[in-house]
Symmetry: C2
Subunit: 420 residues, 2 copies
Amino acid sequence: MRQNAFYAQSGGVTAVINATACGVIETARKHRDRIGKVYAGRNGIIGALTEDMIDTGAESARTIAALRHTPGGAFGSARYKLKGLEENRAEYERLIEVFKAHDIGYFFYNGGGDSMDTAHKVSQIGKRLGFPVRCIGVPKTVDNDLPITDTCPGFGSVAKYVAVSTREAALDVVSMARTSTRVFILEVMGRHAGWIAAAAGLAGNGNGDAPHVILFPEIPFDRDAFLARVRDSVERYEYCVVVVSEGTRYADGHFLAEAGTRDAFGHAQLGGVAATLAELVRSELGFKYHYAIADYLQRAARHIASKVDVEQAYAVGKAAVELAIAGETAVMPTIVRTSDKPYRWTIGKVALGRVANREKMMPRRFIGRDGFSITQACRRYLEPLIRGEDYPPYRDGLPTYVTLRNKPVERRLDTDFVLK
Amino acid sequence: MRQNAFYAQSGGVTAVINATACGVIETARKHRDRIGKVYAGRNGIIGALTEDMIDTGAESARTIAALRHTPGGAFGSARYKLKGLEENRAEYERLIEVFKAHDIGYFFYNGGGDSMDTAHKVSQIGKRLGFPVRCIGVPKTVDNDLPITDTCPGFGSVAKYVAVSTREAALDVVSMARTSTRVFILEVMGRHAGWIAAAAGLAGNGNGDAPHVILFPEIPFDRDAFLARVRDSVERYEYCVVVVSEGTRYADGHFLAEAGTRDAFGHAQLGGVAATLAELVRSELGFKYHYAIADYLQRAARHIASKVDVEQAYAVGKAAVELAIAGETAVMPTIVRTSDKPYRWTIGKVALGRVANREKMMPRRFIGRDGFSITQACRRYLEPLIRGEDYPPYRDGLPTYVTLRNKPVERRLDTDFVLK
């Protein structure tokens, strides 16, 4: 039996989420006997709820192939979390209405923990509302905080960006430290888990190399220990490079820099921890400082993407389609590491119920005893993930990223659905 | 006659200043009949004044070649400006003392406008103090604000970084604009001249492409016009990407974000303009925002350097040595553009007196009539400068940048010189 597929991107986008889209669409096109059209939701699940879909069939093979090297979310993404079936049954009934109208029998949802929760909930409409749809969660998150899977597509590239940037900035700072800037602070993403900050540790190899201080959300911020470490680094090496996770917080749980606003998932919106630390360094130690805030640049930096990450992003998209065709539902493909050296990985799977809403923190054994560094075990884990370069094509000095036509799928329902 | 050479790096470092060092040292090594040793000053001119020099002869050909792809300043840099001969004759006498002690007959000074002033002053010791030394200024500045030369090595690479980053971040923002961040602000360098901010304009090509707003130091900041432009962009395109130069200021000359401190040259130290604009957008327009501050990352980003820039950086180093050997003094090699399309350039020269302490602003005809964009003339100028990629070698996912041994030159003077 041939049915159409729905694919959507959810949550913060990455440098390689479109490589996953490429994997989904290209693989579906190889199975035309089973999958008719691939409809992409505009802005994640919202596209399904509002019957706002894109016909990826209108795009050429060449355009779809170019998604592999294009950052951002080609179909639009959103942070929209379905409520439980009991709390908002109307949302599920609407999904069924849209899926029926467009003969959708496959649901691929590409996102992080919150999105896996959504995919898991959608998978329940088969059993509980009697509408059969194969639901596959497809992992994506720069935060690397999904459980079970060895890593999450998106993370390896941001890790590489942060490690490369730290190494480069350190060479700049050390050049002028004796007469100018002593302390350089790089603020990186990672709301609850310190994986991205940890990746900066790959920039050096001990012996005074930068970064000299890494601040993890997992380790409560200790003002005095931090200042002592910065002073010590400047005394020993003439300079100090600090990499700080946006999610760094005090022992009482308060973030160093809470902006006071919340995002659509209800999470506190963060910003400004670098400026907070810089002011602390200036007022307490008197050192001249500079700080950088990588923000979206880090997760959009396709130009310095990790080859391993791109391959894994594509592979989970491909695997998602293959799992669905094999009759699986309510699962997520995972990346399974079978060897550190040489690095080898394969694709596995896990039930969505086991990954939804669970965050994988850095294990304590990955963080140095001092709380400011990474361990050899952490290096062994991280190193393979940033391996290899996968440069996009360039024209006139700039990467040639693709923009899709995003042809809308003609609506078949005359009802509107109002998002709450 | 064979004499030794002194080479030093001055002012803020760049992704390619070491490519210039590579050009100087490799070329000097080809002229061993004229140039004996190349001594590098540790931390710019300070290394000469304090007799703190590095023997580049201790480095292998392979190591020197690797400087071509290594960012930062391999010998240390500093912002130290010589006073006039009348004001501080002792500094010049000290230079003569050190040059005599080490048989230095060539002086290569690699920097921007302030550094060309220093090189120019040093060149006067020949005529006025009777000590003959060939003084060649070697251009370098990410700010692109040296006059006469078509561009300055260092600028093309930061321009490429900013254009690529803007294009990438825009793809991220537009993915989620409908439900999340509407306004993204990228803060870039450029204290007095808007060249770096202008380069972001290459990311798009009109028709709603990012960046939608560029703020230049050359155009007084107009709060209302800025807010109207941001609102208009969000209404038309769903999002707005703003690229702001750190040197953006009000009509009265005050910077949008003055940190209140000054650097060693007496310039106001800037920072925080992105946060200032973000707060304005939030409070006046109510849009959700994100901002990035590229800071040192932009000028250290050798991983995305412009091939044209690397070639020019090397070429001015090479030309400096050749000019000196040809008997020139008190000059700076320049980059001369002979054709836009196809882009062709050659090396020229200019008297140091004509470049010292003069800043080249963006001509008004390079800035759109609206004050927020670049013109076709500006594109024609900028486009060739970011052309080509010149990737450094990688090992285990990270660029293999070189660190020199930096073997000190044995001191021959028993006098110390105290910097003022």
